[in-house]
Amino acid sequence: MQLVVNIIVLAAIYALIACGYVLIYRVSRVLNLAHGELMMFGSYLLLTTAWTFTGHPLVAIAVALGLSLVVGVLVYLFLMRKMTGEMVLAAVLTTIALGILLRGVMVIVWSAQQQYPGQALGFANPSIVLPGGARISTFAALIVLATAVVYAALFAFLRFSRWGVRMRAAGQNPLLAAQRGINLHAIYALAWGLSTLTGSIAGMLLALDSGLTGTMVLIGLKAFPAALVGGLDSLFGALIGSLIIAAAEVSLINYVDPLLADVVPFLVLIVMLILRPWGLFGTREELDRV
């Protein structure tokens, strides 16, 4: 029972992070390898706002979320916009470089020590006993809830809203979309903003649950196989992929060897790349074969 709860919590974490990869990839075909760092940046923003607005935790959270959206948009406007039209690899390498830059800046500004935004906000984190005897911490439960809400919102946004439809159009065929009068730069900037926002939600909840350290970057990177296993341009796929990765990781840690934790997602990824490189629910056409 505890095992199932662990799997669901981990899957929710991965899914919440993975949707950031999917959003950007689906719209602009760029793989954002700085996602882990951006998500950590978001949680450090929460720490800062928690110090600034002491006594108003909800204000602090709202401001931090707004700021993270702005950070994502700024990253696109000042950096990734210059890489449009370049080789895809150059864009990916730029995100890697951005990740290194952010990692350095975060240590300079906030130091490398473990921080607890939960204490700064004055939140306690009691564990809840579920029927069946399994335990789950409050914020872990909140992560599952947030994942459900974020995914529902994203599905609705992409399906029904005007900007969501534009976003899908830009992802399918940028040239045609631009000719129909869709502002591609605005769409891309929005995708980066939303991606950073969802990543930051994941980062903040993780930081509230278990503290804020540099290992968060690795969690961000481990969520990437989840996105790829499901298919890099499919939100639904990201959910399923996260479940698969989380199930494999938790059960292998439990039954085989705890040291495996960091490689399991990548082992699953290799298997997937051999069998079905475009992922479970991804679009096949973008891969051409020899």
């Binding site: 730029t94 290194i100 952010l102 350095g104 240590v107 490689v263 990548f266 290799i270």
Partner: protein
């Protein structure tokens, strides 16, 4: 008559013997011999610290040349370079610890292990391209590092494996000056292997694959074979570099082979300039010395003590920034800058090439 002419004037080779030459003009001969002489004198005038820097540069050069072969010429993107270096280092370490093997056994076996891993790393490239290939090599990096970590943990070397310096005829190589020449020889050997590979059939095949795979296939090039060959050769050289690194440091640990090391090597290739061996060398020098420059700059700034604790973070940030600047503003890298300077002086006092003039 072509002998004495500078290259920009339309330089023609008139025989096969000239085609085989590595240094052609007098200026090249003079500068090459000056370079060799200065390399030979350097260890006798340099401080131990500078000597160590030079050794690091040579080690990095071996790794970056092999990555340039794979990425810059064959066009196959690899993010598993640190994994291959780790494989070489661990081959040397494990053979030394388990069997007490001398270096003339461990180095070739590192090359063999690297070559075999090259096949493993290269197999996805037959199906995948670009981004997906990069991701699959990234995944293999984690697998190799995990296996290394597992070995360390299971055999009780949790802090790392200590390796004795290699010995030749009963004398252990510990003198930094000898190390300098050993590593210089390794770097030079790698450089000439790469130069000659690129001038041969395989080099031409790789370049064809890089520019257009389908066309290369249509021209009768065995794309799959040559892709695998690129991976095997590059990985074998990289693994030897890893083994040399292990001997030079006298110590192997998985912590040294993080993802950041891969990024550093990729940065060497990018900052140096894609598709140029000179670029790989320049990149190796730049990236290896970069943290020391940053340190020197910080020490010169007021309030140096304040930065001492976050020095590595400043390094990270500056490194990321430099990489971004190169990617955005100078995609051709240091070699691109060098060519621009060359062109400027060749054309002076004019600014542009004549429309129907000799192209490079």
């Amino acid at each position: 008559m072509s002998k004495r002419m500078p290259r920009a004037s339309g330089y023609f080779r008139t025989g096969y013997a000239q085609d085989f030459k590595l240094v052609e003009t007098r200026l090249e001969r003079v500068s090459a011999s000056l370079f060799v002489i200065s390399l030979a004198i350097f260890p006798f005038v340099a401080s131990p610290f500078q000597l160590d820097l030079a050794c690091q540069v040579f080690l990095a050069a071996v790794g970056s040349l092999s990555l340039m072969l794979l990425t810059g010429y064959a066009g196959q993107i690899s993010l598993g370079h640190a994994g291959l270096l780790a494989a070489g280092a661990f081959t040397a370490g494990i053979l030394f610890k388990e069997f007490g093997a001398p270096f003339w056994v461990t180095l070739p076996s590192a090359a063999v292990v690297g070559g075999l891993l090259g096949i493993v790393f290269g197999l996805p490239s037959l199906r995948l391209r670009g981004l997906y290939l990069a991701v699959s090599t990234l995944a293999l990096h984690f697998v190799v590092v995990y296996i290394g970590g597992e070995y360390e943990a299971k055999r009780g070397y949790s802090t790392g494996i200590v390796i004795d310096p290699p010995s030749l005829g009963g004398h252990a190589i510990t003198n930094p000056r000898i190390w300098y020449f050993v590593l210089l020889a390794a770097a030079a050997a790698t450089f000439f292997i790469c130069v000659n590979l690129l001038r041969s059939r395989s080099g031409r095949a790789w370049r064809a694959i890089r520019s257009h795979e389908t066309v290369a296939e249509a021209l009768g090039i065995g794309v799959a074979n040559y892709k695998l060959l690129a991976f095997v050769i590059s990985s074998a050289i990289t693994a030897v570099a890893g083994a040399l690194f292990a001997y030079y440091r006298g110590f192997v640990s998985v912590e040294a082979f993080s993802l950041f090391l891969t990024i550093q090597y990729v940065a060497m290739v990018i900052i140096g300039g894609m598709g140029s061996l000179l670029g790989a060398l320049l990149g190796a020098v730049f990236v290896t010395l970069f943290p020391y420059w940053i340190e020197a700059v910080l020490a010169a700034l007021p309030g140096a003590a304040r930065y001492a604790s976050v020095l590595f973070a400043v390094n990270y940030a500056a490194f990321g920034l430099v990489m971004i600047l190169f990617l955005v503003f100078e995609p051709l890298g240091l070699v691109g800058i060098w060519h621009r300077i060359q062109t400027f002086f060749l054309l002076w006092p004019f600014k542009h090439r004549p429309v129907a003039g000799p192209n490079r």
